[in-house]
C-alpha cells in the first residue's frame, strides 16, 4: 500500500470535512453522526444531482446484493450510500492488504464520503440513522482480514512473495513439439525432463511434464497463480493439445515481513529449544518449526522473518501472530 497515496486520501477528506476522523469503521460512523448534527443547510439541487451520480458510480463498483430488495425512497438510498461507503472502506482495507495503489479510487471515495455527510445532513427525518448505528453488523461481501485494534495484534501483515501450485492438464504432451512451437519455452532433456515456460503477466514460471502435469511458481497471490496456470493451459491448448484444467491446488506459500527491531537469536534458541535450530556456522538465521499451524519460520537478527510451508494464507497470518509476541519478548534483553 502506497503510504503517500493513503496520506493524500486522508488529506483530501480532511480538507473537505473538518470534523472528519478516519481511524476505524466505528469512528467513521460516529463522525458521520456528528457531522449530521453540525452541518447546516448545505444542500442544493446540484448536490442531489451529485448524489445520483455518485450512486451510479457506486453501483458500478460495489456489490449491493446484501441489501433488502424493497428499498424505500430517498432515505433508503442514503442508507445505501452510507453502508456502501463503509463497505468501500472495508474493501479499502482488503486492497491495502494486497498492496494496491488506489490513487484514483481514493479521490472517488473522498468525494463519496463528502456527499454522504452532506446528504445525511439534508435529511430531516432522523430514522435513516438507525441503520448507521455501530451496533448494526455490516456484512462485507469481500473476504477481508479482520480490523483489530493495534494493541492486541502486531499491526504487521506478512507479504506473500511466492506461491507454488500444481495442475493437471489431463492429456499427455509432446515436449519437443512444445519447445519448438512456443517462444517462451526451454527444454533440455539431458538436464531436466520438463519444459520450462515463462509468461510475462503475471510474472511466473511453469514446469510442464510429459504426463500432462504442470507446476506453476512465482506468483504473488493465489488468484495470480490460478490466472497464470490458466494462461499456461491456454498456451498448451493453442498448440493443439486437448488440455484441461483439473485439480488446481496450491502446494506452498512463502511470505516475508519485518518486525523492525533486532532479535537475540541466542536467547530464542535457549528458550524454545524444541522448535528452533540455530547454527550460526551453517546458516545465519534461526529455523523455527511451529507446530500449530505447521509452518517453518526463518528468523534473522535484523528482524526480518520468512514464513513458508503454508497451504492457506490464514496459516501464515496465524503463524506470524503466534511468533510476534515471542519475538517482542526478545527485544530488550
Amino acid at each position: 500500500m502506497d503510504d503517500l497515496a493513503l496520506e493524500r486520501y486522508f488529506d483530501d477528506s480532511i480538507a473537505n470535512d473538518p470534523s472528519y476522523m478516519v481511524e476505524e469503521e466505528l469512528d467513521l460512523q460516529n463522525s458521520l453522526k456528528e457531522s449530521h448534527a453540525s452541518s447546516t443547510n448545505s444542500q442544493n439541487s446540484s448536490n442531489l444531482l451529485g448524489e445520483t451520480e455518485t450512486s451510479g458510480r457506486l453501483s458500478n463498483d460495489l456489490d449491493l446484493s446484501f441489501l433488502p430488495d424493497d428499498l424505500g425512497n430517498q432515505s433508503s438510498t442514503t442508507t445505501v450510500l452510507a453502508t456502501a461507503a463503509t463497505n468501500q472502506n472495508a474493501e479499502l482495507d482488503v486492497l491495502e492488504d494486497s498492496g494496491i495503489n488506489l490513487d484514483d479510487n481514493l479521490h472517488d471515495m473522498a468525494a463519496v464520503k463528502c456527499q454522504v455527510t452532506v446528504n445525511l445532513g439534508s435529511e430531516s427525518n432522523a430514522s435513516p440513522f438507525c441503520p448507521m448505528t455501530p451496533m448494526t453488523p455490516m456484512t462485507p461481501m469481500t473476504p477481508m482480514t479482520p480490523m483489530t485494534p493495534v494493541t492486541e495484534k502486531s499491526g504487521i501483515i506478512p507479504q506473500l512473495q511466492n506461491i507454488v501450485s500444481t495442475v493437471n492438464l489431463g492429456c499427455p504432451l509432446d515436449l519437443k513439439f512444445i519447445a519448438l512451437q512456443a517462444r517462451n519455452a526451454e527444454y533440455n532433456p539431458k538436464r531436466f525432463a520438463a519444459v520450462i515456460m515463462r509468461i510475462r503477466e503475471p510474472r511466473t514460471t511453469a514446469l510442464i511434464f510429459s504426463s500432462g502435469k504442470m507446476v506453476c511458481t512465482g506468483a504473488k497471490s493465489e488468484e495470480e497463480s490460478r490466472l497464470a496456470a490458466r494462461k499456461y493451459a491456454r498456451v498448451v491448448q493453442k498448440l493443439g493439445f486437448p488440455a484441461r484444467f483439473l485439480d488446481f491446488k496450491i502446494q506452498n506459500m512463502v511470505a516475508s515481513c519485518d518486525v523492525c527491531f533486532p532479535i537475540r537469536l541466542e536467547g530464542l534458541v535457549l528458550t524454545h529449544q524444541q522448535f528452533s535450530s540455530y547454527e550460526p556456522e551453517l546458516f545465519p538465521g534461526l529455523i523455527y518449526r511451529m507446530v500449530k499451524p505447521r509452518i517453518v519460520l526463518l528468523i534473522f537478527v535484523s528482524g526480518k522473518v520468512v514464513l513458508t510451508g503454508a497451504k492457506e494464507r490464514a496459516e501464515i497470518y496465524e503463524a506470524f501472530e503466534n511468533i510476534y509476541p515471542i519475538l517482542k519478548g526478545f527485544r530488550k534483553q
Binding site: 517462444r183 488468484e223 495470480e224 527485544r331
Partner: protein, 442 residues
C-alpha cells in the same frame, strides 16, 4: 560313524568312517585303512559358498568392518581433542545408532568418517564442552558444508537436540591455538595466553552485546577479538604496525578473511564507547582506539549506559527540532509504522521517537532511503546489527496485480507466446545446424 552306501575300493568292505581328526574330513576304511575320499576342499562350490556373507549368521556375530573402523576413528578424535570418557562413550553410542540407519549404511567412506566426527561434535555439545564445527571439519579435513549437512541429517534421524554453545566459552580453546607466548616469539610481541584469553572474552562479550556476533560465523569474530586483545595489551609500535595477515603468520594460524571486517566493526563499537570516556579530550578514531581498549573494557557497562543516554538525548534534540519545522501529519492507521517508531538500543533503555520523526531521517546518507519507503530503523539506534545499518538495496518489485483468477484471457496475449510457422521452421533448421556442428567438433 558309518558312511552308508560306500564300498572301500581296496578291500571292498562297507566299514567307511568319517575321519574328522585332521583339518580335512576324510572317509577311511576301517579294515584296510585306505582313504576313500578326501575331497571336501576340492568339492567346495566355485566362487565361494552358496550362502552370501550378509545372509550368514556371521553378520550378527561379527560387526561390519567399516563400523569397527568408524568406532576407532571416533576414539581417535576424542583422544586428539582430549575429551573425557563420558563424551567418548556417548559419541560411540550415537555412532552405533546412526550407522545402522538407512541414510548412513550405504554411503561413501568419507561420509561415514564425517558421521564419526559429527557424533563427537554432538556429544561435546550435549556435555557442554565448547567446540566449533570448524574444528571438527579441520580434524576430518572435510568441507564445512558437507559436515554441516551430515550433522543436520544425523540430528534429525537420531531425534536428538544439541544445546547452543556460547562463543565466549569457545574462545578459550581458540586462543590456545595461537603460538604467541614467550617461547615462540620475541618479547615485545609475546603474550601470556591466560591474559590474552581474558581480554578476548571481554571483547567477545562486548561484540555480543552490540549485535556483531548474532547470525555470524564465530571463527572470524574470535580471530578479530584475539588480534585486538593482543594489540591492546601492549600497544607499542611493533604491535600496532602488524596487520592481521602478519599476525596470523606469526601465530601460525590460518587467517580468515571476514575477520578484517569484524575488526573494523569491533573498533567502531569501541570508538562509540571510547567517546564517553571522561578523560579523553581529543576525538577517538579507529587508529587511536586500540590504546584505550583496556580502559573501555574495564568500565564497559558504565560506558554503555552513558553512550545510550547521550544518544537518547541527541535523538530527542533532533526530534524536537524536526517537529518544529514540520507540519504535524496525521497518524496513519494500523500498519507497520507503529512498530518502527519504537527502537531497541541495548541492555538498558528503549527510546521512543516522536511520530513525525518517521518521515524525516536526520542521519545523512539518504541514498539508501530514496527508493525504500520503509525508514531504516538501524540508522536511528546506537547499536544495530550491521546487516541493518548497511541494508542491501532491493530491486524494484512489480506492483501486485489485483486479479480474481477467473478473468478472460485474451487470444492476442496467448498468441504472442507462440511461434509463427516461419519462426518454427527457422528454429528447427538452426537447431539441426547447431547439433551437427557440435557432433562434428566433438
Amino acid at each position: 560313524m558309518f558312511a552308508a552306501g560306500l564300498k572301500c575300493p581296496g578291500c571292498g568292505s562297507s566299514n567307511i568312517v568319517d575321519d574328522d581328526l585332521y583339518c580335512q574330513a576324510q572317509l577311511v576304511c576301517v579294515d584296510c585303512g585306505t582313504v576313500v575320499s578326501e575331497g571336501t576342499l576340492a568339492d567346495d562350490p566355485v566362487g565361494g559358498t552358496d550362502v552370501s556373507y550378509s545372509r550368514t549368521t556371521a553378520v550378527t556375530k561379527k560387526p561390519c568392518l567399516n563400523l569397527i573402523k568408524g568406532l576407532e576413528r571416533v576414539k581417535e578424535m576424542c583422544r586428539i581433542l582430549r575429551l573425557n570418557g563420558e563424551i567418548e562413550d556417548l559419541a560411540l553410542t550415537y555412532f552405533r545408532q546412526a550407522y545402522q540407519q538407512e541414510s548412513f549404511i550405504n554411503v561413501t567412506l568419507q561420509r561415514k568418517e564425517v558421521l564419526a566426527g559429527c557424533c563427537v561434535y554432538v556429544s561435546c555439545r550435549q556435555r557442554n564442552w565448547p567446540i566449533t564445527l570448524g574444528t571438527i571439519s579441520s580434524l576430518l579435513d572435510a568441507d564445512q558444508t558437507l559436515v554441516g549437512g551430515v550433522y543436520q541429517e544425523m540430528i534429525k534421524i537420531l531425534n536428538i537436540q544439541a544445546p547452543f554453545i556460547n562463543i565466549a566459552d569457545v574462545i578459550g580453546a581458540h586462543v590456545q591455538e595461537y603460538k604467541i607466548s614467550a617461547q615462540h616469539v620475541t618479547k615485545e610481541l609475546a603474550e601470556d595466553s591466560k591474559v590474552l584469553t581474558k581480554r578476548a572474552v571481554a571483547l567477545v562479550e562486548l561484540a555480543g552485546d552490540s549485535w556483531i556476533v548474532t547470525g555470524r560465523r564465530p571463527l572470524p569474530i574470535m580471530m578479530a577479538a584475539t588480534y585486538l586483545a593482543w594489540q591492546s595489551l601492549n600497544p607499542n609500535k611493533h604491535r600496532l604496525r602488524l596487520s592481521l595477515d602478519k599476525f596470523c603468520h606469526l601465530a601460525k594460524v590460518q587467517k580468515r578473511n571476514p575477520a578484517v571486517t569484524r575488526i573494523t566493526e569491533l573498533k567502531e563499537v569501541l570508538c562509540k564507547l571510547g567517546r564517553e570516556l571522561p578523560w579523553v579530550r581529543e576525538t577517538v578514531t579507529q587508529d587511536d582506539v586500540v590504546r584505550l581498549v583496556g580502559d573501555i573494557l574495564e568500565h564497559r557497562h558504565t560506558l554503555l549506559t552513558r553512550a545510550l543516554r547521550t544518544h537518547e538525548t541527541a535523538m530527542q534534540a533532533d526530534c524536537s527540532q524536526a517537529s518544529a519545522l514540520n507540519f504535524p501529519t496525521e497518524e496513519v492507521a494500523p500498519s507497520q509504522r507503529s512498530e518502527s517508531r519504537d527502537q531497541t538500543a541495548d541492555a538498558s533503555s528503549v527510546v521512543q521517537l516522536c511520530p513525525t520523526d518517521r518521515m524525516e531521517n536526520q542521519e545523512g546518507d539518504d541514498s539508501h532511503q530514496t527508493e525504500d519507503p520503509e525508514p531504516n530503523w538501524g540508522k536511528r539506534v546506537l547499536f544495530a546489527p550491521p546487516c541493518v545499518i548497511h541494508a542491501k538495496r532491493r530491486r524494484e518489485e512489480p506492483p501486485v496485480l489485483n486479479v480474481t483468477g477467473d478473468e478472460e484471457i485474451s487470444d492476442s496475449e496467448i498468441d504472442s507466446y507462440i511461434r509463427t510457422p516461419q519462426e518454427a521452421r527457422d528454429f528447427a533448421l538452426m537447431q539441426k545446424a547447431v547439433s551437427s556442428s557440435d557432433s562434428g567438433n566433438s
